[in-house]
Each structure stands twice: as C-alpha cells, then as structure tokens.
C-alpha cells in the first residue's frame, strides 16, 4: 500500500516518543538499565503476504506472548506487543531480578509482563493521542500466548492496516526483540493519516 513518507515519519515519531517515555518508566520501575529502540516501522495491508513476512520474520511463530490493548472511537483497532515466549520470560526474570532460570510463565510473571507491556503500550497510545481530537474507549489489557501465524487472532482481525514497529530491549548485555503491532481499520488509518498531516502542519 502507498503511505507517504511524511505520514510514515509521523507514525515513527509518535511510536518513538511513546517507546522513549516507556523506557524511562521501566528504568525507574526496575532499577535496571533498560534501553528501548525502534529500529524499524512498517505499514502495510494486513492481508498482504508482506505483512505476515515482516511481522514474523524474527520470531518462532509457535510460541509467543502477547499483551493486547483494544480501543475504539476516533480510532478503532488494537495495539499488540508480541514477544517470543522465552524472551518474554527472560525479560521478566531480568527486570524482577529473580534467581535461577525458570522455564514457566506463572501467574505472577504474567502479571509482571502485563505491566511491562502495559507501560510500553499505554505510552505509545498516549503519544498517538496527541494528534487525536477526542478520547478513545479502551478495553482492559489482556495477555495471551500461542501461535503467531496466519491463524492467530492478532493476524485474523477485522483490521485492514497493520503498523509494525520492531522494538529492541537492551538490558544487562542482553538484547530482546519484540514487535509492536498497531492494527487499525481502513477508516481509522485514513483518519490517523489526516491527523498526523494536520499535526505536522501545525508543528508536532
């Protein structure tokens, strides 16, 4: 699909603002030195093969952890943080400073990952809200595990457009990679496109 460089830059900037804020919060929350970078942002049709390829290229699609925030209103869609399950477990272990090398995402670790994911997702959402004109309605964030392939609920969606932002977590000499998916219906994306252009004209 054709997305202007201007809008792509705008989306990238909003995501980077949100992710940057969340890195600051994570640092203070965990007292670990966490660096978050967004090396790549892509926008494409959800139905396209390209979308799936770019979404899944670095992951083991069999085993992923998802933190999901659904919203509706001026924009309708969802924001999903997807991390390979073993990386998600590593992330929680490092951030909480747990001993040993546990192999299971138990209820407490899920809750912790949900907060970590929530910090990133809500910061990005908050950044996107800068360009919106009205408040969105949100469902409560949820956690899921499982496949991330063409049969995944994240992929099979009512949404038309996928914004994929790759996120690198760097902490304690380890690099953990996750993907942030912003899934929107076409009208919402067109509206976001307009909002970004308007904001840029005014000076974001």
């Amino acid at each position: 699909m054709n997305v202007s460089l201007e809008v792509l830059d705008g989306v990238r900037e909003l995501i980077t603002i949100g992710v940057g804020r969340s890195a600051g919060m994570l640092n203070r929350l965990t007292k670990a030195h966490v660096t978050l970078t967004v090396p790549e942002v892509r926008i494409s049709d959800v139905a396209s093969e390209y979308y799936l390829r770019s979404a899944l290229c670095t992951m083991n699609p069999e085993d992923t952890s998802h933190v999901i925030l659904k919203f509706s209103g001026e924009l309708t869609g969802s924001l999903n943080l997807i991390i390979p399950h073993s990386s998600a477990l590593n992330l929680v272990i490092i951030l909480t400073g747990e001993d040993g090398s546990p192999d299971e995402m138990d209820a407490l670790r899920v809750e912790t990952l949900l907060e970590v994911g929530n910090i990133i997702i809500s910061s990005v959402m908050s950044a996107i809200s800068i360009v919106l004109t009205s408040r969105l309605s949100f469902q409560f964030p949820s956690y899921q595990t499982g496949k991330c392939d063409s049969t995944s609920p994240v992929i099979i969606t009512q949404s038309d457009i996928g914004i994929i932002a790759r996120i690198w977590f760097q902490l304690q000499q380890k690099e953990i990679e996750g993907d942030l998916f912003i899934l929107l219906n076409r009208e919402s994306f067109e509206h976001l496109d307009t909002c970004i252009r308007t904001a840029m004209e005014k000076g974001l």
Binding site: L69, T96, L108, E111, N118, S123, S126, R135, F138, P141
Partner: protein, 371 residues
C-alpha cells in the same frame, strides 16, 4: 442522574470485593468504596474531594504519578502489578500490612457530562501470590529431585554395564574351561575304564552338563530387563516358535486374533519354552491350543495341550528355580520374563488330560492391533 458521591453507583461499588477509588482529572477523590474503608480504615468522608496523594501517599511517587498521568492523557488503562508495587493502599494496621499484596488497575472512563475519571481498582492478591510462591518452591524441589534421580540412574547404568561385562567375561572363561574339561573327560572315557572309575567319570559328565545349563541360565537371566519392553503379537510369536522337528506331528492352533502384549523381548524364549515343555513333558502331546479370554482386570492367555499333564504332587513347585526333570530352569525363567511387565503364570491342567498354562495380562499391557 450522575451523583458521584451518594448515588446508586457508589452503592453498587460498595458491594464489590475489590477496593474502588475514583479520581477526577485534578486528582481529587470522587468515590471511595466501603471495601477500601474496611481495608484502609480511611472513611469515604475523610477521602472524598481530597487529593489522591494526600489520602494514599504512595501515589506521590513520581513514577506512579506518571503512570496515572498516562491514563488521563489517552494512554488507556494502567496496570500496577503486585511484583513492582506490592502495597500501594496502606491497610488499617501494620500487622495487617505484613505480607499483604495488592494488584492495582486504573481505567479511564467518561461520565455523562463528558468529564474524564479514572477508576482505581485494588485487588487483594495475597492468597494467589502465596500459592504461586509455594508452587515455585515445590517445582524447584521436584526439579532438584529429578536431577538427582537422573544422576543416580546414570551411575546405576554404568554399574550395571560393568557388572554385565564382568558376568559375560566370567561366563566366557568358564565355558572355555568347561569345554577343555569335557574334552579331557571324553579322552578319559574313551580309554574304556571299568568299575567305579567309569561311574565317577559319568557322574562328572552329568555335573559338567548341569554346570553348562547354569551358565546358560545366568546369560538368559542377565539379559532379562536389559531391553525396553515392546509389543508382541501372540499369534506370530506362537507360530514362529512352534516350528522345527520337535513339533512335527503336533497340531498348533492359535486363536488370539490380533492380540498383542507388552513384554520383555525374551518373551520369545518364554513362549518357546512353554511349547517345548508341552511336547517334551506331555510325552504323547499331539495338539497344542493357544487362545485368550477377557476377564475383569485384563485378559488371560491359555496354552493347553493334550499330553499327560502335570502330576498333582508337583503342581505347586514347577515354577521354582532348580525344580524339574530337565534343567529346572525353563519355567522359572518363563515366570520371571513374564513378570517384568506384570504378567503372571499359573498351571491349571488336570493330570492325565493335559497341561494348561494361564497367563494373566493386566489391563494396559495388552491391545488388539491390526498389523
């Protein structure tokens, strides 16, 4: 009509098993439910219209403050996990605070006049947290024990392997010596000695024969349980065992269909022993029938012949080691081989009418499988 302080809404919130506090965009408290009153000892009247940070000091923490700000700036709901924020709302007394863990969720919502509010829900997750910690402890303990067991098994495997090697070498050497002994015995007997010497030499030959059988038994017994049990089709097993000159003139009927049993690979030897016994000890055996019968807790495989049968006075001893008119090892080995996978064998025939062996196969150790 929306009346935040007194209306039906707050009455309904009072019935919830979670603490609920609603704040305005200016961070003043608009609702404080009864659960929070009970937990914190702070009455709604003391909290309402005050700044949240004054009522609950933990919200003054810059990080928590920033998280709440996200809710009001379009970031959506916020989760404060028990891991990073174990207790934001202080409980009534220090004693109650001990070990208590809370999970906080903050969700934005609009009231009918368009103003934004944030609902802070507080859950007491102490019980589930304790359960998870206990579960982790048990899991770690099991993992440790499994690792220890694995190490022990590895050590045992090495020890068994060494013992097997030692036993094999010893048997081999004994066989060599026995062969030499039998050779010299043959030379001695060829000299045609007479009288007592001839008798003694014959007894020595018999003793050497017994020794040879004992060595063979030791080899078979050592092999038992060394391989993992696998599935054997009874029909194929019986048919392939009942061939050769020993079985000429014997009609072998097998009516077990597709029955398979889980057994040590030495079952091949056990089945052969049973069939060979039927012919040798039956003396006049002309028919051997093998069939199966379903019972409550498994099946019974019946092997019966029309030979002379097992004499009543020895029935109870035929499975003992060292008992028998041949080597005394056959039926003992059969019982041991079957026993590896929980099978039991008894003899239920009638003397004069034939021998009848019943093998009880427990549930889970047999199946019907088309090849």
């Amino acid at each position: 009509m929306w009346d935040e302080n007194k209306t039906l809404v707050s009455l309904n919130l009072n019935t919830l098993p979670v603490g609920v506090c609603i704040i305005r965009e200016n961070y003043t408290v608009s609702t404080w439910n009864r659960t929070l009153e009970n937990w914190t000892g702070i009455l709604a009247d003391e909290a309402l219209d005050k700044l949240l940070f004054e009522v609950v000091p933990s919200f003054a923490d810059p990080l928590v403050k920033e998280r709440v700000k996200v809710v009001f700036s379009g970031g959506g709901p916020v989760i404060l996990s028990s891991r990073f924020h174990p207790r934001i709302f202080p409980l009534l007394s220090e004693i109650q605070n001990e070990g208590k863990v809370q999970r906080i969720t903050i969700s934005p919502f609009e009231i009918p006049n368009g103003e934004l509010r944030a609902m802070i829900a507080v859950e007491d997750v102490t019980a589930i947290t304790e359960q998870v910690f206990k579960y982790r402890l048990i899991k770690n303990q099991i993992q440790y024990e499994l690792e220890e067991k694995k190490k022990t098994e590895q050590a045992l495997a090495v020890a068994i392997s060494k013992l097997n090697t030692l036993a094999a070498i010893t048997r081999h050497d004994l066989n060599n010596i026995l062969t030499a002994f039998l050779g010299y015995l043959t030379f001695a007997q060829n000299e045609k000695p007479e009288g007592k010497i001839a008798t003694y030499l014959e007894k020595m030959r018999q003793a050497a024969g017994v020794m040879k059988n004992q060595i063979a038994f030791a080899r078979d017994y050592q092999e038992m349980g060394n391989s993992l049990p696998s599935w054997f089709n009874i029909h194929s097993l019986v048919i392939s065992s009942g061939v050769g000159p020993k079985f000429s003139g014997v009609t072998l009927t097998v009516e077990t269909g597709t029955l398979e049993v889980l057994a040590d690979p030495l079952i091949v030897k056990a089945v052969y022993n049973l069939l060979e016994n039927a012919v040798r000890h039956g003396e006049r055996t002309s028919v051997i029938t093998v069939r199966s019968q379903v019972i409550e807790d498994g099946i019974i495989i019946i092997i019966e012949d029309n030979g002379k049968g097992v004499p009543l006075q020895i029935k109870g001893r035929i499975f003992e080691r060292g008992f028998g008119s041949n080597t005394g090892l056959g039926l003992f080995l059969v019982k041991e081989i079957l026993g590896i996978t929980g099978m039991q064998i008894i003899e239920t025939g009638i003397e004069g009418k034939g021998a009848r062996f019943e093998i009880h196969v427990p549930a889970g150790y047999f199946r019907y499988q088309d090849s």
